[in-house]
């Protein structure tokens, strides 16, 4: 068991399953902690020993490049023993259920498990069966809390605050866990959220989350401070959510003329991986004055270090 340190404010949750479960104090605690790691990550010696002797297991049932490497690096920089399991080659293939996998890993006494799974609620199920903390690295279309936290940190880093900002989230909202987590977090932190998507990719009753919905991208971008683009998954085309990439780009791709409807200093964000020329103009994606996409990746490590530290305690 982790030794308890004396901290003034403590996280209210045992696990990080979703932004929905967090209080504003929890969020501030994580973001404040993350800020302290930004500098460290830019320095020459990046190694701390805060999590010395702790075991972190990364359980990725879905392919992931940036989230998995980000969590792995975060754990290593804090001194934890990190084990990344490629579940594609595991006993799951032999028919083992998630609960049995959880029991097996639990017997190895990890201090924290990071899970990415294609089914919504998989992390909730796991958290009921293990003794250690569970961090959700994305479950189905439900939540991706560390992505929302790193997005918030990126916005704060550039705009100093979130309260009062107008944020547009554009793309495949229906299948996006990033969109859901961001909606919860941005609402909590006092931003106004505009959701932009064709009706086929707009989830049912999303307006009940307290957001404005738009099918016209230009209207949705009006006076926005932040433009968050989401990745369009190719399989959406085959199941007739959309007609073609070309038409999607025409109406929902972020181009300079559409961006002109947002504020002049609006920032462009994207959780990656990007489909250049489908949801975003390739020049805009690389525009160092507007795009903070690389910064998102950088701060992602800091946010995950903060989460690992806080939830390991």
């Amino acid at each position: 068991m982790a030794t308890k340190t004396n901290k003034a404010i403590k996280i209210s949750q045992k696990h990080l399953l979703g932004i929905q479960d967090l209080s504003i104090n929890d969020v501030n605690l994580i973001l404040d902690e993350a800020k302290t790691f930004i500098k460290l990550n830019q320095s020459k010696n990046k190694r701390l020993n805060i999590l010395n002797g702790k075991t972190q297991i990364n359980l990725f049932f879905e392919p992931s490049t940036r989230t998995q490497s980000s969590f792995e690096l975060a754990g290593k920089r804090l001194g934890a023993d990190v084990m990344s399991m490629n579940m594609a080659n595991s006993a799951v293939k032999k028919g083992e259920t998630l609960i049995d996998t959880a029991m097996t890993l639990n017997a190895m006494h990890p201090d924290i498990i990071v899970i990415r799974h294609q089914d919504s609620g998989a992390c909730n199920l796991l958290s009921q069966k293990v003794n250690c903390a569970v961090l959700n690295a994305g479950d189905g279309s439900r939540e991706h809390p560390t992505q929302a936290l790193l997005d918030a940190l990126t916005i704060i880093n550039r705009k100093k605050k979130i309260e009062g900002l107008r944020v547009a989230i554009c793309g495949d909202i229906t299948h996006s866990r990033v969109a859901r987590s961001n909606i919860y977090l941005l609402n909590m932190l006092g931003a106004e959220v505009n959701i932009i998507a064709p009706s086929n990719l707009m989830p049912k009753e999303i307006e009940k989350f307290g957001v404005n919905t738009f099918t016209d991208m230009k209207k949705g971008l009006k006076d926005c401070d932040i433009v968050m683009m989401l990745r369009l998954q190719n399989e959406r085309m085959t199941s007739s959510f959309l007609s073609s990439n070309r038409e999607y780009y025409e109406y929902y791709g972020l181009t300079p003329d559409k961006l002109a409807h947002a504020k002049d200093d609006a920032l462009i964000m994207h959780p990656g991986p990007m489909n250049r020329g489908i949801e975003i103009d390739t020049k805009l994606a690389d525009d160092i004055n507007r795009s903070v996409i690389k910064e998102q990746v950088e701060l992602g490590v800091a946010v995950r270090m903060a989460c690992l530290k806080i939830f390991c305690e």
């Binding site: 609960i99 089914d119 919504s120 609620g121 998989a122 909730n124 439900r142 939540e143 866990r177 049912k204």
Partner: protein, 428 residues
């Protein structure tokens, strides 16, 4: 068997319009000899042993039109013996079993096997249904006539829906010719594809694909439209949405058909799914509170004819998975009556209407002489302590599978004794 006398009991027998305090006499042959207010201690010979029920209730044995038995193929989930015991504990004495077994009930030889097993192992009356299409694939019709002659009571693909409209019209034509009962689960697969729960705010929040109410409506409207020209015995197995109630109410004036509803959809709504409770992954899905209220209203004004348990035993392994992977359905035959009585206790529906939907209405649709307490008929009935409070605990359930949708729910009203052919087969 000795002659049995019950007095001082509230008898509800909707088939014979009996709703009165009185008594019941069961003959040595297990048949009902006399019933009603005329049966009291004054006209029973004093040497006879009389059972005073002190104001308890007697209902006809319940007829449950939608039960998944497990035999053959899924005996580890439920077999005829465990099903009978569970049914008896819930006052159910007749069931219609679904054809979704392994193998599927779609040919004469498997029906013979099923009838034999049902007769040998079951203590209750088992009325098997057979598949509408071979291997429930929705392509080739089964032999309605031959299967019927072997004792099949009705035809349904159970958990599946006939998607092909031309095939559906042909099925209806054959059913018309042969006097066959068709029971349809209404779900348009293209609209419900990948869906797990009701389409709406809860699905959006949980990140689960939704099943829109319109998927149910499209099939109901299609079938009722076909029915205008092809008059066959047609029953909608279960409905779940307010809009379906509205359509059924409107079409009832034009064409003849009947409708069922699961007790789950009458008692629960999508909010009960909470934090991915797989025991509440049901088909049709639980919908909004407005939908639930509309279903209760539909039952109250008799737009809906039948309440079913939709008893679908699933072993825990099939439920201890992520929501997407978990199997669909809940075990419910034992709690069917008690949960239905909730609608009476909270003042939503009259007791007689509820009992009608559980006894005489399904019997009438099935054309069986069950679900009534007529003199000379086999004495299938239950005695109910209508106010008795109890709490549902899955470990106390008799069914082999414990996947109840109402774990820890506080209920009022419990079956204390159940009789089949005059013989007491369950006692609390």
């Amino acid at each position: 068997m000795k002659k049995q006398y019950f007095i001082n009991v509230n008898i509800i027998d909707p088939h014979n319009s009996i709703n009165e305090n009185g008594g019941l006499i069961i003959g040595e042959d297990g048949l009902i000899e006399a019933i009603g207010k005329k049966v009291n201690s004054n006209n029973i010979p004093s040497r006879e042993k009389v059972i005073d029920l002190n104001g308890k209730y007697i209902f006809p044995g319940l007829v449950d039109m939608r039960v998944f038995a497990g035999e053959p193929g899924y005996e580890y989930k439920e077999n005829f013996r465990t099903l009978s015991n569970a049914a008896l504990a819930g006052g159910v004495t007749s069931v219609v079993t679904m054809p979704n077994t392994d193998p599927i009930i779609d040919n004469v030889s498997i029906v013979d096997f099923l009838k034999r097993r049902g007769r040998d192992k079951s203590k209750i009356n088992v009325f098997p249904s057979a598949a509408l299409t071979k291997n429930i694939e929705g392509t080739t019709m089964t032999e309605f006539g031959l299967l019927q002659s072997r004792g099949i009571i009705g035809f349904t693909d159970g958990v599946k829906t006939i998607q092909n409209t031309r095939l559906m019209s042909r099925i209806m034509n054959s059913a018309k010719d042969l006097g066959t009962l068709i029971m349809q689960h209404a779900e348009d697969y293209d609209l419900s594809k990948n869906g797990m729960i009701n389409s709406g705010i809860i699905a959006t929040k949980l990140g689960l694909s939704g099943i829109p109410a319109v998927a149910e409506r499209i099939i109901i409207e299609r079938d009722l439209t076909l029915l205008e020209n092809i008059k066959c015995r047609y029953h909608i197995s279960q409905i779940s949405a307010a809009k379906s109630v509205e359509i059924i109410e409107e079409r009832k004036n034009k064409v003849k058909f009947t409708t069922g509803v699961s007790i789950n959809n009458l008692s629960l709504n999508e909010n009960d799914i909470g934090d991915f409770r797989t025991f509440l992954k049901l088909s049709p899905p639980l919908r909004t509170e407005e939908d639930r209220i509309a279903l209760v209203q539909g039952l109250k004004d008799e737009t809906i004819d039948v309440i079913v348990s939709d008893h679908k035993p699933e072993d825990e392994e099939q439920k201890r998975l992520t929501f997407a992977q978990a199997s669909t359905g809940a075990s419910g035959i034992e709690t069917l009556l008690s949960l239905s009585l909730e609608l009476y206790h909270n003042g939503s529906v009259k007791l007689e209407t509820i009992i009608k939907a559980l006894t005489s209405n399904p019997a009438k649709i099935l054309k069986i002489d069950k679900g009534n307490l007529s003199v000379g008929n086999e004495a299938d009935f239950c005695i109910v302590d209508i106010d008795k409070p109890w709490v549902v605990k899955k470990d106390k359930l008799i069914s082999k599978s414990k996947n109840t949708s109402i774990e820890d729910k506080k209920l009022q009203g419990k079956v204390t004794n159940t009789f089949v052919k005059g013989e007491e087969l369950f006692k609390l």
